[in-house]
């Protein structure tokens, strides 16, 4: 796994699990590395910064809890994600929104969305 992938993967896995989206680890790793391979240096740098921020700094900053993202309770993770999405600081929200396309792109794939639609038919 690439150095960037190694930093982002735990967040991507926790993010998917939190949303109740089942993705096998090897599939998630492969998709993530595929995305990273197509990303430029600027994006990769932002992914690293944002992943570290969400995983380690954001729980302290937004919830006052010195726990990693994966170690938070489900309710705390939901609240943290909500606060990241709604951060009024353009810098903080920009940092988070820099990685959101990667995380949501890994989870809410066209295949996932089609399955969700078919599940209701």
């Amino acid at each position: 796994m690439s150095a960037v992938g190694a930093i982002v993967f735990p967040l991507a896995r926790s993010y998917a699990a939190h949303a109740g989206i089942e993705i096998a680890d090897d599939r998630l790793r492969a998709d993530l590395e595929g995305r990273l391979a197509g990303a430029g240096n600027l994006s990769r740098g932002l992914f690293v910064g944002a992943a570290l921020f969400v995983r380690a700094a954001a729980p302290v900053l937004f919830l006052g809890k010195p726990l990693g993202f994966s170690a938070l309770s489900s309710d705390d993770r939901e609240e943290l994600l909500r606060r990241l999405q709604c951060a009024r600081s353009p810098l903080l929200r920009g940092l988070y929104l820099g990685i959101k396309p990667l995380l949501t792109g890994l989870c809410y794939t066209p295949e996932f969305l089609k399955r969700a639609a078919e599940a209701r038919v």
């Binding site: 949303a19 109740g20 709604c86 949501t104 792109g105």
Partner: protein, 471 residues
């Protein structure tokens, strides 16, 4: 050893491509240098953003809000990644611009017409309009609001692939390189150099430029240089080389834009059809223009103002979500500076109270239209609790007076004005001896319409001026 051509054009967007082509068609030798490369089609929007958007799509203005401003770094410039919508310059603005010496509205309009023809502009036919667009029209009809119309776009063979902003898989969009450059490729005296950057520029009667690519540097002498690097990059060169009647980089207008989401009982499949197919000028506030917009499936989740399990619930019903957007002819202004060079410009922008009020007004209007079309829920693009509404009455009564600019989920697609005509460049778009500008930066004020036709027209007019064609 220095090369010699008649004209050097830097940038291949709407302005650069049109200027280069018209100069060549007028018999001049032209070298067009473009920092990006030609695009190849694909069905992967994330890949397209990473490869063909400036700074991998990570350009954003900050101030009292976060405002992503995507532009293109690719052959064809931002026209390769825009929605293709074409609207002519409002006549009242053309008349106002006559205050700039050398500009005449009746001398500009033929160039608007020329660009319109060259781009094969036509209304979006009903069969390729997205379902979201049709629901928007249905809501307007239900409310008795007239004025909704099919938007007009430059296209040749569009089938509604829905990827206008991510490189059309059929190459059907009439972007700048397709409309203006492709017909001239191979013509003697016309060269397009991709992956080539401007390094230095010396103005004068015979200006000189230094260009750099992977294969080395080139020194070129010419009769005139046309800078067409875009609103967010051309000011760098003017500031760096001390060009322009006033410092470039201020008076940035952007048309802040966003979209409203609506959940219906029926299937909407909003990733199908032309995303920007319908429009309406607000019946009561002429600074608000409604235009359709939606995202490909792989970007749908990114654009919703939710996260976590709440986002999951919305994505589970994604096929029933319609979207429609709007943009504001902004009174707000921003600026661009380059503390670490041209590759990472610092964009600032403050959304003023008047424009903020227009944003909330427009959101409420779109929500009302969607409810009138039968929506079960409407989501306003607000990053704060209370953005979901279940009835039109609830939306109507909602107090949005405490919405702040920082709460808005917005983007902006039309940066303009940083080298404004009459301020930085003169009425003939001249910045200095032998140096001219032809891109969105010369548009003197916020347009209120999609700007590409205006930019093409400025460039065509400049080219004729350089060729000595009487206005």
């Amino acid at each position: 050893m220095s090369e010699k051509v008649d004209f050097v054009v830097i940038g291949s967007g709407a302005g650069g491509s049109a200027a280069a082509a018209r100069l060549c068609e007028g018999g001049a030798s032209v070298l067009l240098a473009e920092k990006g490369s030609p695009a190849s089609t694909s069905n992967d929007a994330l890949r397209a953003i990473g490869k063909y958007y400036t700074n991998e799509g990570l350009s954003a203005a900050m101030g009292n809000c976060l405002l992503p401003i995507p532009t293109g770094e690719v052959l064809g410039g931002t026209t390769r990644i825009n929605s293709g919508t074409c609207l002519k310059t409002p006549k009242d603005l053309l008349r106002r611009w006559e205050a700039v010496e050398g500009f005449r509205a009746d001398g500009f309009e033929p160039h608007l017409d020329e660009a319109w023809r060259r781009l094969k502009v036509k209304p979006v036919p009903e069969e390729t309009q997205s379902r979201s667009t049709k629901l928007f029209f249905k809501g307007l009809d239900s409310l008795g609001i007239s004025g909704g119309h099919a938007l007009e776009r430059g296209e040749d063979g569009c089938v509604g692939s829905s990827r206008c902003c991510f490189i059309c898989p059929r190459d059907a969009k009439m972007s700048a390189e397709k409309a203006y450059l492709a017909p001239l490729l191979g013509k003697p005296g016309f060269e397009v150099a991709c992956e080539t950057e401007l390094v230095s520029l010396a103005p004068g009667k015979n200006p000189r430029v230094t260009l750099r690519s992977e294969s080395g540097t080139r020194e070129v002498e010419c009769k005139a240089v046309v800078l067409a690097c875009g609103t967010l990059r051309t000011p760098y060169f003017l500031r760096r080389f001390g060009l322009g009647r006033a410092p470039a980089g201020d008076a940035l207008s952007v048309h802040p834009a966003t979209k409203v989401f609506a959940l219906f009982d029926e299937k909407v499949e909003s990733d199908k059809g032309v995303p920007q197919a319908g429009g309406l000028l607000d019946p009561d506030e002429p600074r608000i223009r409604y235009e359709g917009i939606h995202m490909p499936l792989e970007l749908a989740a990114m654009s919703m103002p939710f996260e976590g399990r709440e986002l999951r619930r919305w994505m589970d019903v994604h096929e029933r979500i319609a979207t429609f957007g709007f943009m504001i002819r902004d009174e707000s202004r921003g600026s661009v500076r380059y503390p670490v060079g041209p590759r990472l410009p610092w964009l600032s922008y403050r959304l003023q109270d008047g424009d903020l009020a227009r944003m909330t007004r427009a959101m409420r209007f779109l929500g009302k239209v969607f409810f009138a079309a039968g929506a079960r829920k409407v989501v306003l693009p607000l990053n704060r609790p209370g953005s979901v509404f279940e009835t039109a009455a609830q939306l109507q009564k909602a107090d949005l007076s405490d919405v702040r600019a920082a709460d808005l989920q917005m983007m902006a697609f039309h940066p303009l004005g940083t080298c404004g005509m009459g301020r930085v460049v003169d009425g003939n778009l001249k910045a200095a001896d032998g140096v001219y500008v032809a891109d969105g930066s010369v548009v003197p004020e916020s347009l209120g319409v999609n700007p590409q036709i205006t930019i093409y027209a400025f460039a065509l007019r400049l080219a004729e001026h350089l060729l000595g064609v009487p206005a």
